[in-house]
C-alpha cells in the first residue's frame, strides 16, 4: 500500500469537479437502473415520496431492490436491518481499503468523503491511488455524480412507470430479479465462489420452506459467509 508524503489524499473543488465529470459516462447507465428501481418500487406499493427519499438517503441499489422483496403491509424490522447490512457490508471493505489515505484527513473530511462511496467511484479512486495519483476527488465528486443521476433516474421511473398498466405481461416484474442476478454473475467467479453460492442457495431454500417467512435471506447470507471463512482464500484481493 502506498502511504507516501505526497498529498494524494487532498481534495478541493477542482478535483471534486474533475471526479464528477469522470464518472458522468457511467452515471448515464445509473439513470436507467434508477428508473428500473423507481418503476419496481411503484409496483411494490411504495408511495412516490418514500421512493425518492429512499434513493436520496440510502443510495445503494442492490439493497433497495432487496427491500422491495420484503415489502408488504408490514415489514419485519430485524430482517430489514440484516438484509440491508449484509448487502451493503462491502462498504466496510471500501472504507477499510481507503483508510491509508483517509486517515490523513480531518475526521469531518474523512467521513464526508465516504458519504457517497459506492462500487464505481471507490474502484476508480483505488485505481488512482495505486497509480500514485490523487483519488479523493474521484471518490467524492464521482460519488456525487452517481448519486444525483441515481435520484434523477428513480424519479423518472416513478413518473413514467405509472403509465404502464400490466407490468407483468411486459416482464417488468423481473427487473429486480434480473438486476440482482446480473450483479451476481458480473462479479468475480471461481469454483470457491460457486460452491459458496450453492450453499447459500440451498440454505435459503431450506429456510424458505421450513423457517419463518423472510428468514431465508439472512440464513442464506450467513451460510455463504460462514462457508467463505471455512474455505479460506489466499488473500490479495482488495
Amino acid at each position: 500500500m502506498l502511504d507516501s508524503d505526497a498529498k494524494l489524499h487532498e481534495f478541493n473543488r477542482q478535483t471534486v469537479w474533475a471526479g464528477f465529470k469522470q464518472l458522468v459516462p457511467i452515471s448515464v447507465f445509473v439513470i436507467a437502473f434508477g428508473a428500473a428501481f423507481g418503476l419496481a418500487a411503484t409496483q411494490s406499493g411504495l408511495d412516490d415520496a418514500s421512493i425518492v427519499i429512499m434513493s436520496t438517503l440510502v443510495f445503494a441499489g442492490a439493497s433497495q431492490f432487496a427491500t422491495l422483496e420484503l415489502w408488504g403491509p408490514q415489514v419485519p424490522i430485524a430482517t430489514l436491518v440484516i438484509t440491508v447490512f449484509a448487502i451493503n457490508a462491502r462498504h466496510l471493505l471500501m472504507g477499510a481499503t481507503l483508510y491509508p489515505w483517509l486517515r490523513q484527513l480531518s475526521p469531518a473530511k474523512r467521513y464526508g468523503a465516504m458519504l457517497f462511496a459506492s462500487d464505481a467511484n471507490w474502484a476508480m479512486s483505488m485505481q488512482a491511488f495505486s497509480r500514485g495519483q490523487p483519488g479523493m476527488g474521484l471518490l467524492l465528486g464521482g460519488g456525487l455524480a452517481l448519486w444525483s443521476f441515481w435520484v434523477l433516474g428513480t424519479w423518472l421511473g416513478i413518473y413514467f412507470g405509472g403509465a404502464i398498466h400490466d407490468p407483468k405481461s411486459l416482464g417488468l416484474d423481473m427487473v429486480m430479479g434480473c438486476f440482482l442476478l446480473a450483479m451476481v454473475v458480473g462479479g468475480k467467479k471461481n469454483l470457491r465462489l460457486l460452491i459458496i453460492w450453492i450453499i447459500a442457495a440451498c440454505a435459503s431454500l431450506m429456510a424458505y420452506w421450513y423457517l419463518p417467512s423472510n428468514s431465508h435471506v439472512v440464513v442464506g447470507a450467513l451460510a455463504g459467509g460462514v462457508m467463505g471463512t471455512l474455505w479460506g482464500e489466499k488473500s490479495n484481493e482488495h
Binding site: 442492490a62 448487502i87 472504507g95 459458496i196
Partner: protein, 102 residues
C-alpha cells in the same frame, strides 16, 4: 417486530435503511482507526455480499413461473457472454415479456 408500511411507517423504514447503510459506509473507516480488519473477516464479508443476493434469487427461480425462470436464464447467459448488466437485464425482461404473450 414489524413496521406497518401505511402512513409514516414507510418513512421510518427508509430512515432505518439509511442509518444501516451509513453505518456500513463509515464503519470500515471507523473500525480501521482502532484495529485492522482481519483476513478472516474480509473473507466472511466478501462471501456474504454475493450470498445474500443468491439467497434472494433462489426462491424467485424455484417458485416463479416459466417466464420468470427463462428471464433469469437469459440474464445469466447474456451477462456471461457480454458482461454488461444493462443488456443482460433487458434480455431477461424481453424474454419474460415474449414468453407471457403466448
Amino acid at each position: 417486530m414489524s413496521i406497518e408500511t401505511a402512513g409514516f411507517g414507510a418513512l421510518v423504514i427508509v430512515l432505518v435503511m439509511s442509518v444501516v447503510t451509513l453505518a456500513t459506509r463509515w464503519g470500515g473507516v471507523f473500525v480501521m482507526s482502532y484495529v485492522p480488519i482481519s483476513d478472516r473477516v474480509k473473507q466472511f464479508i466478501n462471501a456474504m455480499s454475493g450470498s445474500v443476493l443468491v439467497a434472494l434469487l433462489a426462491p424467485m427461480a424455484i417458485n416463479g413461473d416459466n417466464g420468470a425462470r427463462l428471464a433469469l436464464l437469459a440474464t445469466a447467459i447474456t451477462m456471461l457472454l457480454i458482461k454488461k448488466p444493462l443488456p443482460a437485464i433487458a434480455a431477461g425482461i424481453l424474454t419474460a415479456a415474449l414468453f407471457r404473450q403466448f
